[in-house]
């Protein structure tokens, strides 16, 4: 969220099992539309070659998400 606040294009890479958690946290931080790329779970135990193959398959989706124009995160209404 710190990169979002700085206006840096940000995409969260999330494994399938953690999508609900990522959405819950993004919503609590007032950014329910945080761009995400979902990858299969788990990948920590995969051999490095398979992880690289997975990264190759997902990189274009990541770039597409980064290039998509997004609304800014919701802000509180200014108070008097």
């Amino acid at each position: 969220m710190e990169t979002v606040k700085k206006g840096i294009p940000t995409v969260a890479v999330v494994t399938e099992e953690f999508v609900s958690l990522a959405k819950a946290i993004a919503t609590s931080l007032k950014y329910p539309d945080l761009p995400m790329v979902v990858v299969p779970h788990p990948f920590e135990m995969l051999p490095v070659e398979q992880v690289r193959k997975l990264a190759d398959e997902k990189v274009q989706e990541l770039v597409n998400q980064m290039e998509k124009p997004r609304p800014a995160p919701a802000r509180r209404a200014p108070t008097a």
Binding site: E17, F18, S20, L21, A24, I25, S28, L29
Partner: protein, 356 residues
């Protein structure tokens, strides 16, 4: 005392206890056990017992970043079965929750089994019958059971730590049903935990910790402090409990184990020093050989001292990271060591403010 109108939505639900339980369970508001219906009258009685206005925000709880108002906490307290007199203790527990030393976002979302335990000190234990003796970690005492349960319901309903959906704890732990214990100060040879942490003995306080594991220390034959300390240190020597030296742990000594150590003149500080001395060179061979030095650095197992790369790590990097309390029945030689959440640091202790 309660003068602020309640703001929570009032539901039109069946009075039948089973039907109401089914309703609340379907909404995801319970821990799977029946609840006491939080009627407006019950909630107002609970709020009144806390001595604070219903709309006061006690804490902001992650991950939902929700304001934990006195009213919302009272609702959970009623559901858990708390007597209103317990409410000031619960309010103090919630005040501790956002403490950075606990890493509240982590403990409410992690894959780890970590749960919250409240350690209560001072005269409030007798006043509310908070058990510190036989079966202190188990069922049977309303205060212990329901304060612990209310803590968990607050994590669920206010903080948003929904099992499987937000908290990804792989297996969780029975401690997540709730855990609240009193320290058995009357059978401890040393100063109680809250006095160590700067409070007066006659004050009541709660310390909130986040255990990840509970290791049984059943040692029935050693008659010397040296023997017992050797045994306890051996229980700590494992990859699952060692290797996160910047964290803290809680050693819950039964009264008889504490007596063995104290009768040879050991103070609590001495006990911590002796444990530290015996656990500062855990061989890295405890960890699987497939893990590289890079893995071990990433896991936090090594990299704390140059000597670590020579093949050892430590349970804790300081004797002060061992916290020691006395609790349990004076019936035998069973203690427990709790390894605390490894992203946590110093633990919070707060005075319990009882209403006038």
């Amino acid at each position: 005392m309660q003068t602020t109108p309640l703001k929570s939505k009032v539901l039109d639900v069946e009075e039948d206890p089973e039907a109401l339980f089914e309703d609340f369970y379907a909404r995801g508001w319970t821990d799977g056990l029946p609840i006491i219906p939080p009627t407006p009258a019950r909630v107002e009685r609970m709020i009144a017992a806390g001595g604070r206005p219903a709309n006061e925000v006690v804490a902001i709880l992650e991950p939902r970043n929700a304001p934990a108002t006195v009213e919302k906490l009272a609702i959970n307290a009623v559901m858990a079965g708390c007597h209103p007199s317990y409410f000031p203790v619960l309010l103090t527990i919630v005040e501790c929750m956002p403490h950075s030393g606990l890493d509240p976002l982590g403990i409410n979302t992690t894959t780890n089994p970590v749960w919250l335990m409240s350690v209560v000190n001072g005269p409030v234990r007798q006043k509310l019958n908070i058990n510190s003796g036989y079966g202190v970690l188990g069922p049977g005492w309303r205060a212990n059971a329901t304060i612990g349960r209310a803590t968990r319901l607050i994590q669920l309903n206010t903080a948003g730590s929904i099992p499987g959906e937000v908290t990804k704890s792989c297996q969780a732990h029975p401690g997540r049903y709730g855990q609240c214990v009193g320290e058995f100060e009357e059978r401890s040879p040393w100063e109680p935990l809250h006095v160590e942490r700067g409070f007066k003995k006659e004050e009541s306080a709660v310390t909130l910790v986040a255990p990840m594991s509970a290791i049984r220390i059943t040692e029935t034959d050693c008659k010397t402090a040296e023997g017992l300390l050797h045994y306890i240190a051996g229980c700590m020597d494992s990859p699952t409990t060692a290797g996160h030296p910047d964290t803290h742990s809680l050693l819950m000594l039964c009264p008889d184990h504490a007596a063995i150590l104290a009768r040879e003149g050991l103070s609590k500080k001495d006990v911590k020093q002796e444990l530290y001395k015996r656990t500062k060179a855990i061989p890295l061979s405890r960890w699987p050989s497939e893990l590289t030095t890079g893995d071990l650095k990433r896991l936090g197992v090594v990299g704390h001292r140059p000597a670590d790369l020579g093949g050892t790590t430590c349970v804790h990097s300081s004797p002060d990271h061992f916290k020691v309390i006395v609790a349990g029945g004076p019936s035998g030689y069973h203690s427990t060591w709790f390894s605390l959440w490894f992203h946590g640091a110093e633990i919070p202790t707060r005075r319990i403010q009882l209403p006038d």
